[in-house]
Subunit: 206 residues, 2 copies
């Protein structure tokens, strides 16, 4: 790979988006970031990795973004600088994402990376989704989730992801116009998704 390429992957839970990202990074010989971003952000904030992992996408109260509109907070823990816990974590992760994108080619999964890195010509923004039955099957076999409540859990996880994305980007999670390529991984096939995204990366790296 001669030129730098950053591939951001947003994905529905159980769609195989994380696996697709891992395989692309492996095939192209570039770095892969997912949970490592939490580790790196924990160093910046002083919060533990566990704490960030549990709270990063839970928008339980007001935050700096709401403050800008309403001019007040309502019962949420706020730091001296006017940031909520969620804002602090989001800002720390955003800084980490910009830093790793500066360093070289990589694949970044989740964490609003498509929005944080903007519309750079080196950046391919991907959204991966799938049919519910396919996501259920993947969640049960891959993550050993309880088959009884799995559909409810999948919907809840995606609802949290959507809320987090919409809140911090002002855009709608899953709207095709936020990404360069969106693929239904069940219909297209996981291997074909990998091939297609790699073909776009090849074009950028020419």
């Amino acid at each position: 790979m001669n030129r730098k390429v950053i591939i951001t992957i947003s994905r529905e839970f159980g769609s195989g988006g994380r696996y697709i990202g891992e395989q692309i990074a492996k095939d192209l010989g570039i770095k892969f970031y997912d949970k490592a971003i939490i580790e790196m952000a924990s160093e910046k904030t002083g919060f533990s990795e566990e704490y960030i992992s549990e709270n990063e996408q839970k928008l339980t109260g007001q935050s700096l973004f709401n403050f800008a509109i309403t001019g007040s907070y309502a019962g949420n823990m706020v730091f001296g600088n006017g940031e909520s816990l969620q804002d602090t974590m989001f800002f720390a992760q955003s800084k980490v994402i910009r830093e790793i994108a500066c360093k070289g080619s990589c694949v970044i999964v989740g964490r609003c990376a498509d929005h944080i890195l903007g519309d750079s010509e080196n950046c391919i923004n991907v959204f991966i989704y799938s049919n519910m039955q396919s996501k259920i099957d993947r969640a049960i076999s891959k993550y050993k989730l309880d088959s009884k409540n799995v559909e409810k859990l999948l919907k809840e996880r995606d609802k949290i992801r959507a809320k987090h994305y919409n809140y911090y980007t002002g855009k709608v999670w899953g709207d095709s116009r936020n990404y360069h390529i969106c693929l239904n991984s069940d219909f297209i096939g996981i291997e074909n998704c990998i091939k297609m995204i790699k073909s776009v990366a090849d074009r950028i790296c020419l």
Copy 2:
């Protein structure tokens, strides 16, 4: 092509979606439908092609769909069977779309064909969009539109398309989850969009 394949293409105005559809139909040697659907629908309704073309996506008043919710019409011309003009045109075009899909492989551009044909395994639903500057350039060079008002016109056309789609399908126009593959034609490149969609069609036709 051994097995039947139906490719529906929804697109932003000026994104090159129609051209992509035409090229795919040509390359695969299958039928292409766009305005021909209006011609076929006009035969069913008795309205002229010009009238349907001008009015098919203008939701100016109440329709059967609203009637189901509100129980009343408000100042719109309604036929004896309770349908508005727009409903009649939508139903006629839907019938035409189902009929042509039954006949054999084809590409259908616009007219909510993705929703009308449902989630059939032979059906590839595509959404094509692009960056505003690219759409402006295409609209000026291709459709000879006035460069002064072209951005406003593009936005208005897509607003009408979105309103029409959302209204008749109950889904959100441009939400990736309504399609199998969504591509930014400026970023991916028109020729690569054609290649990618054809590779999906090849897989279906194996």
